[in-house]
């Protein structure tokens, strides 16, 4: 499968989706002008991946900040991850960032995927 590797910018997150190395990560800041357009390739990739996934997949979310338009798209991403067999989400938040911790908890209540929480 093709690898998605986007470097982060001041308003878009770093994204790595690499099936052969088993690396799935979204990190940094997400406040793109057009969140739907930005996340579409990620959603497409996950849909294809769900048809032939690795034995297990850990999706790492290490977000520093995301805006509300991105939060809707992150929920869409999580809904695609829900379709991947044996997938889990590892949600990182800065140790003093209660809002990011709470955001992760809320997402975990909205999708049927197991979440693990860690601070950084």
């Amino acid at each position: 499968m093709e690898i998605i590797h986007l470097e982060g910018t001041e308003d878009t997150p770093k994204i790595i989706l690499d099936k052969s190395n088993g690396i799935f990560e979204i990190s940094g800041r997400s406040l793109p002008e057009d969140s739907a357009e930005f996340y579409q390739p990620v959603l497409d990739w996950l849909e294809a991946y769900a048809k032939d996934p690795n034995t297990t997949s850990e999706f790492v979310f290490k977000l520093e900040y995301f805006n509300t338009a991105s939060s809707k798209l992150i929920l869409d991403v999580l809904s695609k991850i829900e379709e991947v067999d044996n997938a889990k989400v590892h949600w990182y938040f800065h140790e003093d960032d209660e809002d990011m911790e709470e955001a992760g908890e809320e997402f975990s209540e909205l999708v049927e995927v197991s979440f693990e929480f860690s601070t950084y």
Partner: protein
């Protein structure tokens, strides 16, 4: 040239640390955010407070980018928007103002009043309800901005409409973020 001094004085009196008036775009949003962040860094602001202020600023700025757009073309009206950050004692104040169609007022008022009527748990429920059911609008919004601003700031959203000519009104919105 006295207006320069007057503007300077008003900004000092109102404790404004940043004011931007003009056209709003994603590029401007990024610049304003970067300036405000540097400002808070130089004041040695705590990261928890910085994050909340950043959060509210983004929603506020992107609201103007997304919704201020349709109102600046007609005739020769040059209705730019305004955005400002102030710091008074232990509070940050984020205020913005932009023109909108009078037809939009009722809906906007309803949404703001709903957000203001809810407590912390009520806002959490509303957020989850909207995020589950919403789709991204043509303008790129999720309909979650006000709810998020109220949640992150922990305060009510103050707003006001001032009638302008040509079927438009000037919408002002103010959010207060306590440092404690």
């Amino acid at each position: 040239m006295k207006y320069v001094y007057d503007l300077h004085k008003s900004m000092r009196n109102e404790n404004l640390i940043l004011v931007y008036e003009g056209e709003f775009t994603q590029e401007i949003t990024k610049s304003v955010l970067a300036m405000a962040e540097r400002n808070m860094d130089s004041m040695g602001e705590e990261s928890t407070v910085k994050r909340k202020v950043f959060n509210v600023m983004v929603e506020c700025l992107q609201n103007i980018v997304k919704h201020g757009e349709g109102y600046k073309v007609e005739n020769e009206y040059d209705y730019n928007a305004v955005f400002m950050i102030g710091k008074k004692g232990d509070e940050y104040i984020i205020a913005s103002g932009n023109p909108l169609e009078n037809n939009d007022i009722a809906g906007l008022r309803e949404r703001l009043d709903k957000v203001n009527s809810l407590d912390k748990d009520g806002l959490k429920q509303l957020y989850k309800e909207i995020i589950k059911n919403t789709t991204i609008s043509d303008k790129g919004g999720a309909g979650l901005g006000f709810v998020d601003m109220a949640r992150k700031s922990g305060s009510k959203l103050e707003y006001d409409f001032v009638e302008m000519e040509g079927g438009k009104s000037f919408f002002s919105l103010k959010t207060t973020i306590g440092r404690n």
